[in-house]
Symmetry: C3
Subunit: 341 residues, 3 copies
């Protein structure tokens, strides 16, 4: 874990981050760690007050936290009003992501009419199709397939083993993790004479600036119009975004979520893990869906929604299922009791 790490004196670090240091500005840190494991040359952070007890025994060279949290702490502190964000900024300084070196790996296969910026990096075994455009400082990692007519904006990064087609257009600084498939056909079928007929999918995909797409997530191309992610949409692993879904800016979608076709999700929504959203719905801005919920109706009021049932010991759960089957009977018994009163 010493790889690619840089060392900073705490004074330098505070200056680079624009934060106030309380403590020894000459102390040097070289790496990051949790409060529990940090040594004297590691930086650590405290964002969740539930972990405050760890301050009693941490050996960290410096801790990023709020002034309130730091009150009784005698070690070195970088004071922050948003410790988790400033922790993110600190890691970027101490553990900088190696930039892709400009150039095309000799094993890559590039269409003659692809337009690849001279500062872009194309990795080993990657295939770039016709009329593809790859922007300034973009990185297409090893083992990717970028199909014809796709556009990848400045400083975007396909980590590796990504497939992009469907005439997808990615904005700037889009980060796409391995195994992602963007722009495959949506599920369009017409039944006639006892068999399915495929409805060709000819829409595209548009992905805004600063989006992040987690490993093995799939985002289908539109049927006729485009599937759209506005800017700063953050999607975790194994999420399925069907054709013509529209996701508003700054929305975050956790792992294993499925969103069915033509649904419109607002801005600043958060959809927790393994939830499903049915097709052709409209979810307004600032909606939170809790884990493993089934969204079957449009939502027009911000707030939290859910239908996930917490697991119980098997015996109790079995009995509850029996009770559920009795509810019809209970309805009758309740009415009878009321009549006979």
């Amino acid at each position: 874990m010493q790889l690619n790490s840089r060392s900073f004196r705490l004074g330098e670090l505070a200056a680079a981050l624009g934060l106030t240091l309380r403590g020894d500005s000459d102390r040097t840190v070289r790496n990051v760690a949790t409060l529990g494991r940090a040594g004297s040359d590691d930086a650590a952070f405290l964002a969740n007050p539930a972990y405050k007890r760890a301050l009693d025994y941490t050996q960290a060279g410096v801790v990023v936290m709020t002034p309130q949290a730091a009150d009784d702490f005698t070690g070195n502190v970088l004071l922050s009003d948003n410790p988790y964000r400033d922790w993110a900024r600190l890691i970027k300084l101490l553990r900088p992501q190696p930039a892709g070196s400009p150039g095309i790996h000799p094993s890559a296969v590039i269409a003659a009419d692809a337009d690849i910026h001279s500062s872009a990096h194309i990795g080993a075994q990657t295939v770039i199709g016709s009329r593809v455009r790859i922007g300034k400082a973009a990185v297409v990692g090893p083992g990717c397939v970028v199909d014809d007519d796709v556009q990848i904006g400045e400083a975007s990064r396909l980590v590796g083993k990504v497939w992009i087609g469907g005439q997808a257009v990615l904005g700037q600084r889009v980060l796409v993790h391995p195994g992602v498939v963007i722009g495959a056909d949506g599920f369009g079928l017409a039944m006639s004479e006892g068999r399915w007929h495929k409805v060709p999918q000819v829409g595209g995909v548009r992905i805004g600036d600063d989006c992040e797409i987690g490993a093995n997530t799939t985002i289908d191309r539109g049927a006729i119009e485009d599937t759209v992610l506005e800017q700063d949409v953050r999607i975790d692993n194994q999420v399925q975004i069907a054709h013509n879904v529209h996701v508003g800016a700054h929305t975050a979608i956790a792992g294993c979520v499925g969103i069915a076709g033509s649904t419109r999700i607002g801005r600043y929504c958060m959809i927790a893990g393994a939830s499903g959203v049915a097709g052709h719905l409209t979810i307004c801005d600032s909606v939170i869906i809790t884990a493993m919920s089934t969204v079957l109706d449009s939502i027009d009021q911000p707030g939290e929604y859910g239908s996930g049932i917490p697991a119980r010991p098997h015996g109790r759960w079995k009995r509850l299922l029996v009770r559920l089957s009795q509810l019809d009977d209970w309805a009758r018994r309740l009415r009878r009791l009321e009549k006979n009163q």
Copy 2:
């Protein structure tokens, strides 16, 4: 979106589709669009009466719809008794899928004893194993791995980045989207002396003609006998089909569904998104499973089944969960009231 589109006079288009044109047979269309966005040289369609209002303002050069829907419409119409199917046929004319050019990309790695039809296309960076057979006009796109002994039938197409092994046999016109894995080992484990022992998976996979497999879907090889998809099975993205599952012809399975081992699904079934079907069940023909349902028992009557719970506002859902925990208590109270009557 002008790519690969052809232009047709409406008279030609009607003739090619075998439909009746009501309107100007000399008008030319070049592309497809939704009713809302179509211009005068676009074809559009109306299949769902809910969208009929869009006819009032559409600028489409022609609309595919039923005679009833077209009643008050003054624009050009292609009359159809199944507009969605005929729309599919129209797109195929206006936006033909480019055929794979025959031949093997020089970067592909092909086993010496693979049997590849001279009209087949093998894409860049693809790997073809020993004794593989690739049929007439089949396409194996870029970045695929086709393991030893796999057979791919005439006019089938692996779009790209597909892995196929497990001695899978694909029929004709099978369409496989990126990230699909067909023929990996199923989950076979025996516990003995406190640890797991892998049960080697030696069955195959058979996929019938005209099946379509969505992006990042997985279909395991059988344990001993084969995993089977009959003809015209349509599977969406991120579906998991376990070992020895048998799916009947013309069944459609939406995104994120999981089907556990040895379950048999009938013909003409429809399984909606994110549902799960337990192992060793038999589901008869013509069963519809609604979204996010849990199928734990065999089904022997056609019809619709489900157990998905629609999400509610958080406060109401929390209260409902409390009510559920009270049901045991309520049962007692109901009985007491009835006794005391």
Copy 3:
């Protein structure tokens, strides 16, 4: 299915497996089959008493089963106290997995400073990054990407099209199926000034000896510390393991399960298909989670837990949903009845 199969006389087979043969030691078997389809040169097995009826008509050359099950059976039997485990051992004899031939395929791209054991196999089109270490007799199949600083232990096997990064360290005999992504970034985001800031993920992944990872499963690298699978963890297809999850030894996780960040799962647990486990929980040893359950709380007692609701016919399910909405009203009516008693 004759591929790679060996023939054995039953006497040899019994000796090789250390089992007692009842029957003709000179009979030869060449392959494996189910009881229903086996011919006279096939071995079959009976582990589940529910299938015992098949013994009446099986043509199998030999059947692996318990002495009790074999009581009335007149054919050849290999007597076993754990037929499923011994069946696994038998298949390994009759259908040996071809070993990877040592060597590096000429189309693979290998970093100059990668350390690959001379007995390891590197497949076609595979990419191996800087400082990667590949152990003795390990196999990295075709189309894999192994990113910088990854270590793969002795006799481990990446079947093909696997992506591994995040400085993952795999133990010995780890089996990784196609489409798996190990070591991609976890979902770490800080909100500030109305937009998301990525929290760089710098932890690793450690995977113990004898683990198996199913197709298209994703295992994220840790945020700061590592994501960990202890030894002999068995994971099915399309499972999502988020950053800093810790899975205890001998735990099995079925298809489509999602485990959110920082959750700790005990040893000898079994999590059935499509269940979800929320983040930051602790699940003790020997817990069974039934299919499609939602685990929202830590569990400190071994045993079975669940919340999956079995699907019902649509009409009955719709009525039950109505009943659920009435529970608040019922609570009031029950109280009123009790008061008026």
